[in-house]
Amino acid sequence: MSDSSEALASAKAAADRIVKTKRLNACITPLKELRKSLDQQARAAHPSGVLYGMPVAVKDNICTLEFTTSCGSRILEGYRSPYDATAIAKLKAAGALIAGKTNCDEFAMGSSTEHSAYGRAVHPFEKTRVPGGSSGGSAALVAAGAVPAALGSETGGSVRQPASFCGVVGIKPTYGRVSRYGLVAFGSSLDQIGVLGRSVHDAARVLSVISGRDPKDSTCEDRDSLRLPTVPESLQGFVIGVLKEYFPPDLDPAVRRACERAIRLLKELGAAVRDVSLPHTPYAVATYYIIAPAEASSNLARFDGARYGPRFDGALDVRTLYKKTRGEGFGPEVRRRILVGTYVLSSGYYDAYYRKAQQMRALIAQDFRNAFDRGVDLLFTPTTPTSAFKAGEKVGDPIAMYLSDIFTVTANLAGLPAMSIPIGRIKGLPIGGQFIGQAFLEDEMIEAAYALERVVPAAEEA
């Protein structure tokens, strides 16, 4: 059997599986185009690449030469990027196949993939529920077994939260570990491309390939790509901190049970477990919801219908063109965030909001540093306060939606690596547990995740 036919078989099988997930509205690439492209890619794939033949789906806000890149928005409907994101180029160089683009909240703004202009994505187990967001499509596709891994992106937890809801692994690397060149910017100081995978190994090896230096991104650190650890025998020598503020008295009892079970297992694996406090945690969501919209309001100013994307007709002058394009092209959540972001940067408010938020961010980052300086290697927390909620439940209340990010935003604010692995079920729905690691020490975090993954009864009720 020649090398090319291995990839071709993989391509065909992936396309067949993705076809079966149509009802999830997770993959938004037209299936005919997907099949044709997968076939072409399989013929050209590098046979010696470490991911040779592996189908990897890609969130719709990451630029690919194949397929469209519309970021879940009307304003980029039909947009074809004339370049590949660096992460995509690295996947291709490793022989992977780009298995279509996945549905997401518009411009990655959301926690449920209900804010997509292309229809909501559906939870793989219960169709009335959301798969999480904003990388809901990627998480659902992996959970449904269609692809072993998919790229997502994080600004405030958009990889980990859907991973928790869908029962898959989701990793967010340290800020600067993976190039952002080609990731359509939302909150530039928070954004990172992350990976959803059906196992820690699948997610980690994709992350390893896409990580590493990139001269095209000034915020990408000049480091080699992530080195993959081996599965450890035990977690002897690991000190794991349990964050007090992430187990508030009103935490859902089932979530608490699942986490306590996981912590017990970590102890049984030999880890020492300690209580840790990050006192500025209560301000994290507020801090995030100043910084992210502010940066977004600026990042999204380029979408005006002038140079790419659809042209909304009937504008008599350029001002009207902008307003019409942006008014009709952006959905309500995006418009809201742009307005909030513009407000907090505006003259008279900048000091009280944006500057203050950046200072608060420093305190949050300092909290983590203090914890790690006291001998803690990793932190363990719930990923989300609940399992997947019902579609429509939170859409009308922005703040309720924001609060579902409560355990995830801190890692983005501090720029730290974090990952979620499935640790149990709550009334049949998956729930994830989260590790937060030290900057650029993803390997330690992945080691602990490997060990826990082997022993945690992820399919069992908590």
Partner: protein, 101 residues
């Protein structure tokens, strides 16, 4: 901390977003609630203020001055919704006149 309708319209103008009259009250209310919520960071006493934190490298790396553009698989003519004689086209300026800077 309430955001008035005028303020919403002013911010919308800065952001080049149309807000129609019907949507204005709800939008103003939602924005007020969001801004009220995030304003809790002002609980942070001034003395606790630290230098802002941004993750990533501590200093910029420089690029050598060489004419080596990043790859572009196809040109502006294929990207643009309106393109003629090598130029992007937009409807005439109207209320705009000359450049800002």
């Amino acid at each position: 901390m309430s955001v008035t309708h005028e303020e919403v319209l002013k911010i919308a103008r800065l952001a080049e977003l149309d807000v129609d009259e019907e949507a204005l009250p709800l939008l103003a209310e939602q924005m007020s609630r969001i801004l009220e919520y995030v304003a809790q960071i002002n609980a942070l006493p001034a003395s606790e203020g630290m230098k802002p934190f941004v993750p990533g490298p501590d200093a910029l790396r420089f690029r050598a001055d060489e004419v080596k553009p990043w790859p572009l698989a196809f040109g502006p003519d294929k990207l643009a919704p309106a393109f003629k004689d090598g130029f992007f086209l937009v409807p005439k300026l109207g209320p705009f006149e000359e450049p800002e800077a």
